[in-house]
Symmetry: C2
Subunit: 155 residues, 2 copies
Amino acid sequence: MMDLDDIDLTILRLLSEDGTQGAGAVGRACGLSQPAAWRRIKRLRDSGAILGLRLCLDAEQLGFGVTVFLGVKLATKGRVSLEDFERAVSAIPEVQTVEHVLGLYDYRLRVVARDLPDFERVLRRRIMTLPGAGEVEANVLLSEERRPGPLGSAG
Amino acid sequence: MMDLDDIDLTILRLLSEDGTQGAGAVGRACGLSQPAAWRRIKRLRDSGAILGLRLCLDAEQLGFGVTVFLGVKLATKGRVSLEDFERAVSAIPEVQTVEHVLGLYDYRLRVVARDLPDFERVLRRRIMTLPGAGEVEANVLLSEERRPGPLGSAG
DNA sequence: CTTGAAAAGAACTGCCT
DNA sequence: AGGCAGTTCTTTTCAAG
């Protein structure tokens, strides 16, 4: 883990708010010249602190009106079973994120579908047939708020 | 919901893989001239299909080694109670996403902390004291995979 | 929809403090 | 580490077919 000073944290906060802005704008916003800001941003990218820019799409606009979070318990939890499950789940296009977790469930999946009938199809034909899948719990997304995270306020 | 043709879907898939590339690169990759690709991308942004570019940060690199998903049941679920809860939860910097869901839980929270003692502090002093918070369930993130979603394959 | 061109801006490089 | 000046590339916009 690399050490970041206040300026680095400011840059990350600025880029979190608007990932499209370039080194010039970032520099202006935190009292740095364009090359200086550019060097710091490059350093943050090279060090791995910045993983990349992800496109945020409006699922509804694209015809996917239903988003469901699934908690999955595996029936059998060997090493092979985890790998089989992950490989199989990665082949389902409707699955947006696969989170391996520790607790009441083994995996958490974010799944999108066009509507509820379409979701039922995905659930029955894709999810329930996953190798090793045991108990499945579902939560339907009503609304969502994403926040920058604890960058400046870092406790 | 606007209608998107195959080229639009291709553009979205390309940008999902690398959000940094510009209209020129996208055009080359899908057989379109640079201005044509630029106009389509602008149209996708203006229509709201593209919500924006979000910076992906490596939480561990930033000193947040622990990510926990919390499922929260509210004790009292009136309209006022929802608003109170959402306002209070939005004031906790360690909370990265707030999802209002339908099912076994009422809210799902993604929370980051420096380590487990730090997480315990957040849980006890911030989460458990939220107005209306009832039962809380936790899952600790081990690993995560994000995927583009069902853009081309759209069933 | 295309091409071409011009203007604007961003990325990147040396060199200097 | 940061700033300045300059080059190169891309993006963006316009005109015209």
